[in-house]
């Protein structure tokens, strides 16, 4: 059993989820509370990865991180090697690809917190940030956990984007799904079956935890 792709995939998914917490929360907060009339455009952009074929997204990311793009050049000047076909490039693509899976649950959780609770906190003298940390975030815990887990799980299973952006470099960009594909191509069905089973069990366990947690959340924090 080849563990390298599994470890790599877990690392990629974990980091992606982590970055999405940091990046997705402000975006989700803005989407949930902004009254900007063109907000729907931003919402569409965030949702794009849901409908775009992974190859299309992967193609654009590949162009964006390539040595001829400003981003690619800036990155190469900063760290000394190109971004394409590296783990960092793959991470960048994964964050974009899983963005809606984090932002949408976050935003809907923030949006369903009773605005009166937020206003109550403001009138009690708490800043917007303190209010977010002490009222909005705890009351959105279920949605935040859902968003983190969904983006983690979604990254675990990505294929097209990895192939386009990362290629197939063992230990660097060769994730589980690529590994399974390779095994099948090589007619090594036993190896593919083992890895596939690990992925299947893992996904099932993760989702079970999320749903169990979501149910318990309402018992621990009775809303009304």
């Amino acid at each position: 059993m080849n563990w390298l792709p599994i470890v790599l995939t877990l690392k990629l998914a974990g980091l992606t989820a982590l970055i999405l917490v940091a990046v997705g929360m402000p975006i989700a907060y803005w989407l949930a509370y902004s009254r900007w009339r063109w907000k729907f455009l931003a919402e569409s952009v965030v949702a794009l990865p849901l409908v775009l074929p992974p190859t299309v997204l992967g193609f654009y990311v590949l162009v964006a991180v390539g040595p001829k793009s400003p981003l690619g050049q800036w990155y190469q000047a900063l760290v000394g090697h190109p971004l394409a076909f590296t783990f960092e490039g793959l991470l960048f693509a994964s964050v974009l690809y899983s963005l809606p899976f984090a932002v949408q649950p976050f935003a809907s959780a923030f949006g369903s917190v009773d605005p009166k609770l937020v206003e109550a906190s403001w009138t009690l003298g708490k800043s917007r940030l303190a209010t977010f940390l002490r009222v909005t975030l705890p009351l959105s815990a279920a949605g935040v956990v859902t968003g983190v887990v969904l983006s983690f799980a979604h990254t675990m299973g990505e294929f097209g984007v990895v192939l386009m952006v990362g290629g197939n470099i063992p230990g660097v960009t060769r994730t589980v799904s690529i590994d399974i594909y390779d095994e099948v191509q090589a007619l090594n069905y036993t190896g593919a079956a083992e890895t596939a089973l690990v992925l299947l069990i893992f996904s099932f366990v993760i989702l079970s935890i999320v749903y169990a947690l979501n149910r318990n959340m309402w018992v621990v924090w009775p809303m009304r």
Binding site: E119, W122, T123, L124, G125, K126, R134, P138, P222, M223
Partner: protein
């Protein structure tokens, strides 16, 4: 100016009415102003503008020497900077925090000893002993209301804004909490602006009543003056109770209380048997007018007086009688003609003791 709060502003809603309010409140002492009017009058909007949760389109709000809002100068103080205590209609308790967590929410930055002392003080003041570790969902409506009050009072606000503080409660609880709330507000050294559409609540709590309808404040004054002498027909229709007199108990007998009002003795049925100072409220349709000498009847109160004004209103006439104090009676137009009621006519007004509604002051 230094010890007064003044507000004069306008708030427009898209497609809705424009809400205009001009108010003055003393600062730094207990004083309750009740904003009274039907729902949809814009009362809550006034509170929200004062709290900083809405931005008025035009006007000024000053609190002592501070300027909270000045649209000409582009000043708009955020709610965090105003130091108000806002009690939401449904209390808006934080569901994920315990009672103690809710009460200490705003005083998190105090050191733990002081915070504990403040919490204990609030628990005592609002009689929440034993509930500290409960969550809001495990409390009754009355308990939730008291927790919400404790939460706003814990940080010692400079102005208290109450949005229909008792309307979310069932009738018996409301009855009980009304008196408690009055005692509590009297004990606080801050002004209160309280929104309600319940006239009993208004009379119970208010030092000053501002009647509001259609987005405008129609009349401001002491409770008895606003209720007994409405400035116009609109206010009269809103307040609904035509006669409100302040009175003191001078004697008690068989569940009745005797009041001395402008030299006349009035008897009223008294439920509680407690208290000395009351508002006596009499609806115009409960007053019977008779011509001539004092008749004998089952009603306890017979008041000699003179008609001062007769105003037809549809099928009935509204008759103002001066019997030492102003009393309004509602009679049919036919009756007004038969009795030849006109200003100066001597009459006897009869009111049953059970028709006088007593509200403790």
């Amino acid at each position: 100016m230094a010890d007064e709060m003044t507000a004069d502003f306008e708030k427009r809603y898209n497609g809705g009415p424009t809400i205009r309010a001009a108010l003055g409140l003393p600062v730094g002492r207990s004083h309750v102003t009740v904003l009274f009017g039907p729902s949809g009058a814009g009362k809550t909007t006034v509170l929200r503008c004062l709290a900083g949760l809405e931005r008025p389109e035009r006007g000024r709000i000053r609190f002592a020497s501070e300027t909270w809002v000045d649209t000409d100068a582009g000043v708009m103080a955020p709610p965090q900077a105003r130091g108000v205590g806002y009690l939401f209609q449904d209390y808006a308790l934080f569901p994920h925090l315990t009672v103690a967590g809710n009460i200490t929410y705003a005083i998190h930055d105090l050191d733990s000893r002081e915070r504990r002392a403040r919490l204990d003080e609030m628990i005592r003041l609002l009689r929440l002993e034993g509930l500290e570790d409960r969550r809001p969902a495990q409390l009754s409506g009355g308990q939730q209301q008291r927790v919400a009050l404790a939460r706003v009072l814990a940080r010692r606000p400079r102005l208290l804004l109450l949005d229909e503080p008792l309307s979310a409660l069932d009738a018996p609880t409301r009855e009980q909490l009304r008196g408690e709330l009055r005692a509590l507000l009297r004990g606080q050294r801050m002004p209160t602006l309280c929104v309600t559409h319940d006239w009993v609540e208004a009379l119970t709590l208010a030092d000053q009543v501002a009647v509001m309808a259609g987005g405008r404040i129609l009349q401001t004054g002491s409770p008895d003056s606003v209720f007994s002498r409405p400035a116009n027909a609109e206010v009269a229709a809103i307040v609904g109770v035509e006669t409100v007199i302040a009175g003191k108990v001078v004697g008690r007998q068989d569940g009745l209380a005797a009041f001395d009002v402008a030299g006349k003795q009035l008897w009223a049925v008294e439920a509680s048997g407690k208290g000395e100072e009351f508002y006596l409220c009499i609806r115009a349709e409960d007053v019977i007018l008779e011509i001539g000498a004092q008749p004998s009847s089952s009603a306890r109160n017979h008041l000699a007086g003179r008609v001062t004004d007769v105003r037809p209103a549809g099928p009935v006439s509204r008759v103002a009688v001066d019997c030492g104090f102003a009393l309004t009676a509602l009679v049919t137009r036919q009756a007004a003609q038969d009795l030849d009621l006109k200003p100066g006519t001597p009459v006897t007004a009869t009111v049953k003791a059970s028709a006088i509604h007593l509200i403790p002051r």
